[in-house]
Symmetry: C2
Subunit: 305 residues, 2 copies
């Protein structure tokens, strides 16, 4: 079905000045205008692990496969340029699945001006596998890394956390515009996106930065979905537990120098709320304040691959 599908795809893809040679040759040729460093990220998602094809709108599955890559570019404050999409399709309904996936991929690519620069499409007897590699470019302000947080920095997040599996994981908007806007107007020392869990992804920042973080648990913006899950929890999992560990929120975690954080929180320059949920500290690990003013260790939790 590859030839038939490629014909369909070539018809769907509008010409783009950045795509000098599109699908149909041995490789795609991309014009990258400025001499800025390239940012590359890749995610592979599988039926039965990252989604359940028989229970999902296939367009949303395709959309999500691209969106999680754009979220990684956002975490670096990179402007998206292009993506390469590879599919291993189940033989049954291969063409229909491929078309539906692209019906989710194409509008999101268009919204973020992402050129679809080819890929590989085949069928097999296994479950659906989608591998997308996205390429972006840094602004003159450089990359936001996980490794730049310093003790005293404010711990700031975008949006709300927890309960993503009730729908948000298919609907979220990657924080590309937000990251670029913040990086342009405020000093940001470190950033990551929340894919595996707020506490686990925060621990990636503290580990890479060689510091720790003291969380104000009461300040964490808990989503309505997390509250809803907690209400129906058979095992007493709280909404806060969901917020700390569910993952797939695809919000940003930021380390912001204190004076910029003050201005940032006052300005609230984004459509999505910015909330301070703690402070980076010298002592490695994650911490919460106890009632007697001491510190208790918080074990990072989330999705382990």
């Amino acid at each position: 079905m590859e030839a038939e599908f490629l014909k369909w795809l070539r018809w769907q893809l509008p010409p783009h000045p950045r795509l000098l040679v599109g699908p149909g040759d041995d490789a795609a040729v991309l014009q990258i205008a400025r001499q800025a460093p390239c940012v590359i990220t890749s995610d592979m998602v599988n039926d039965g692990v990252d989604f359940h094809l028989d229970q999902s709108d296939w367009r949303l599955v395709g959309r999500k496969a691209l969106a999680i890559n754009l979220s990684d570019l956002a975490a670096m404050a990179a402007r998206p340029l292009a993506a390469v999409v590879s599919l291993s399709l189940p033989r049954r309904q291969a063409m229909e699945i491929a078309v539906r996936l692209y019906e989710g991929i194409l509008p999101l690519a268009d919204e973020f001006d992402v050129v679809l620069a080819g890929g590989d499409t085949g069928t097999w007897t296994g479950p659906l596998v989608i591998s997308i590699t996205a390429i972006g470019q840094l602004t003159e302000r450089g990359a936001l890394l996980r490794s730049g947080a310093r003790p005293g920095d404010a711990l700031v997040v975008t949006g709300h956390f927890g309960g993503s599996r009730l729908g948000h994981h298919f609907q979220f908007t990657p924080r590309v515009r937000e990251a670029l806007a913040l990086h342009a107007h405020y000093r940001i020392h470190a950033a990551t996106d929340v894919s595996d869990g707020l506490s686990l992804d925060l621990s990636h920042i503290t580990d890479e930065s060689g510091c720790g973080a003291l969380l104000e648990l009461g300040a964490i913006p808990v989503s309505a979905a997390a509250a809803s899950l907690a209400q129906n929890s058979p095992d007493g999992t709280t909404a806060l537990d969901h917020a700390l560990a569910d993952g797939e929120d695809f919000e940003l975690i930021l380390a912001v120098p204190a004076e910029d954080a003050e201005r940032l929180l006052r300005d609230q320059p984004l459509d999505v709320p910015l909330t301070r949920i703690g402070t980076f500290v010298a002592e490695p690990g994650l911490w919460t304040e106890t009632a007697d003013g001491g510190r208790a260790r918080l074990e990072p939790r989330g999705y382990e691959h």
Copy 2:
């Protein structure tokens, strides 16, 4: 196992001036020095389709997954820069498989100065899936496309064809250096690499160029492996049949203007032989000469995805 594997991988990867940020952050950052267009290609290979894990040296499987991408870059005359490797590993022996795959990937990447710029690694209950996206850069001579062949051009190939599955498909050297050398010193109108089958891949050139090709079947360099397969053929498949349709030769097919072809074939500037196997003609399709001096249509055959 992702964390454990990433730790191993970070230890394996030497620092490279082109890789500003390597594995361990949300994305990799790559310094592309000159302002030349980027070439991007991607291949996804699956256990049971493209290889059989239980019958193969896992290092060779990893090597091949990268080599086929480098062959696509060669077909465009692009210099390899970087690759992103994503793995969906069977739960059983995941770490061992990942390490063996990389033991095949790393030396080939080193040989062609390919920076490994991260990727995605996970486990699942399905068979092994490897998705590699390679990035290259064009020289000032631009890309070799499939679409540039003109009637009168000589049809020239590197190397030998057929019987790749006896071993060549795991051992081949992608024709990167050869393509760059030819593109630098001779006019080449069109090129592709032979992955699906000599006749089928040739038809991609003629289709994209809006012309045809007249093949001299007797001139086609048939590999010893093809002859060996033919000797043991239960159904009378000839060595030439194998050469025309087996695929995975990963040699180059070139459309070369007549005067450059003459010089090229006299020079034989490569370590691998260059052979003229026909001429591009105005009439679309593939053709052979009949005994009475007429033309017979040759149906392109090979691996259909």
